[in-house]
């Protein structure tokens, strides 16, 4: 929780200057995506939601007899 709060404060104090479209070349690269393997993540999230009690914060929230 402290980490979350720190990140929130970090964002708050560093400010959020707009980045122009033309300056987003690095961010547009495949390896820079928030989820660089979105289709593979579907199965990975299923495994986590079945083998761990915690769900949410990803796309797998329901379905499957292993997910109470």
């Amino acid at each position: 929780m402290k980490l979350i709060a720190s990140l929130l404060l970090g964002v708050l104090f560093t400010g959020c200057a707009n980045v122009n479209q033309i300056d987003r070349g690095q961010l547009a690269k495949k390896f820079m995506q928030l989820d660089p393997h979105p289709q593979e993540s579907v199965f990975r999230n299923e495994v986590h939601s079945f083998r761990e009690s915690a769900i949410g914060g990803n796309s797998a929230v329901g379905g499957g007899c292993g997910c109470n």
Partner: protein, 389 residues
């Protein structure tokens, strides 16, 4: 309960403050008429000898899964795309086969199971707004589901900030043994209802030309029959089916941060905090390092992940007397889990297949290994092919 309320208040307050300050990019649409196809094959194996829920006291939780998936997206107009997903699973699970062989009246053998699931949806962009909806079903031996989802997002500040909201609803029907006091005469009960409503708020912000951050808050409430088909408990040496409450509210707050270390490398760091009505707390951290290998944008990703979860309130390895709620499911125990893996993304020049030009052709491979401190280990290999035409 007060502690739970205070946590919710803190999360909501944090999010409210955050959303007023920060501002992501909408998912890119393809050219009109284009179709993107991705197929993923998943090969999964797990093993453990510590599953207290297994009916024959062996603890074996061996499981093999083969799961092919196909994702299709077709751009019907400049701002509208339709999406589809088909998943097929086949698996053998030791806990299923032991349940089958220890309950004489279960009917047909369930030693090998299969599931088929499909999903159809649409996505549209109107100016700074993006809307999506999908509808799906899933069916297998002891579980059927109909589900739907809607989501909406809006970009702000020249697409530097995106705020999204999603809603998912599952109507599930399960089959399970409710009474195994006379195992050989036990009959599986059908038509058990489970409903899940999940909502999420997601916000992402471009911080600079080299980093981006995302926050997500998810609330999910499950109600109805929440026990698992094959789970039992040991009460003074006698096996009985697990008993769980008929509702569970779950909360998760997660954040992800991606930062370029150089023109060809980056870190992808994520953290998630989770808690629920059954007294589970969980902290999950994942760190990935990504390295671009050439001008073709091939890249490699290596990652490590750690998760800690506390034990479900109703969990015990075994019980002296019957309780209103009781489970020995190893997934609900307290444990630390460690995971590591590597992914390789390889992009090819445009290909031609049966006279059709295939663009953005890529072939990915992934190996993941996972272990928990309560004995379970799993590993899987994923391979996917993706192209547009």
């Amino acid at each position: 309960m007060d502690v739970t309320k205070n946590r919710i208040k803190f999360l909501l307050l944090s999010l409210t403050s955050f959303f007023t300050l920060i501002q992501n990019t909408l998912a890119e649409m393809m050219e009109k008429g284009k179709t993107k196809v991705t197929s993923v094959f998943n090969f999964y194996h797990q093993n453990s000898n510590n599953g207290g829920q297994v009916i024959d006291n062996s603890g074996r939780e061996e499981d093999h899964v083969v799961e092919p998936m196909i994702f299709i997206e077709h751009q019907i107009t400049e701002d509208t795309a339709v999406t589809g997903q088909i998943t097929f699973d086949a698996w053998t699970a030791a806990s299923d086969s032991k349940l089958d062989s220890n309950t004489g009246a279960s009917g047909e053998s369930i030693k090998t199971q299969a599931r088929i699931a499909a999903n159809l949806g649409a996505r549209q962009e109107k100016g700074k707004w993006s809307y999506g909806a999908n509808f799906g079903f899933s069916t297998e031996y002891d579980y059927q589901s109909i589900n739907g989802a809607i989501n909406v997002s809006r970009s702000f500040a020249q697409d530097n900030f995106t705020l999204g909201f999603g809603l998912q609803y599952y109507m599930d029907e399960l089959s399970a043994f409710r009474d195994i006091s006379n195992p050989q005469a036990a009959k599986i009960e059908t038509g058990l209802q489970r409903k899940i409503l999940a909502s999420s708020i997601t916000a992402s912000q471009i911080l600079s030309p080299i980093d981006i951050i995302q926050f997500d808050f998810t609330f999910a409430r499950s109600s109805g029959f929440l026990e698992s088909t094959a789970n039992t408990v040991n009460i003074g040496g006698v096996r009985a089916v697990e008993q769980l409450p008929d509702s569970r509210s779950r909360y998760a707050l997660s954040t992800k941060y991606v930062r370029a270390l150089s023109d060809i490398s980056a870190i992808n760091l994520s953290y998630r905090y989770y808690f629920d009505q059954w007294n589970v707390d969980s902290h999950t951290t994942r760190l990935a390092y990504l390295l671009e290998l050439n001008d073709n944008e091939d890249f490699i990703e290596t990652f490590v992940r750690h998760s800690y979860q506390s034990q479900v309130r109703y969990f015990a390895d075994q019980f002296d007397t019957a309780q209103t709620f009781m489970t020995s499911d190893s997934d609900m125990n307290r444990f630390n889990s460690y995971e590591t893996g590597i992914y390789l993304n390889h992009n090819y020049d445009d290909q031609k297949l049966f006279g059709v030009e295939l663009e953005n052709f890529s072939w990915n491979h992934g190996f993941v290994y996972y272990m928990r401190t309560n004995g379970l280990r799993n590993g899987y290999y994923q391979t996917s092919v993706s192209f547009e035409f």
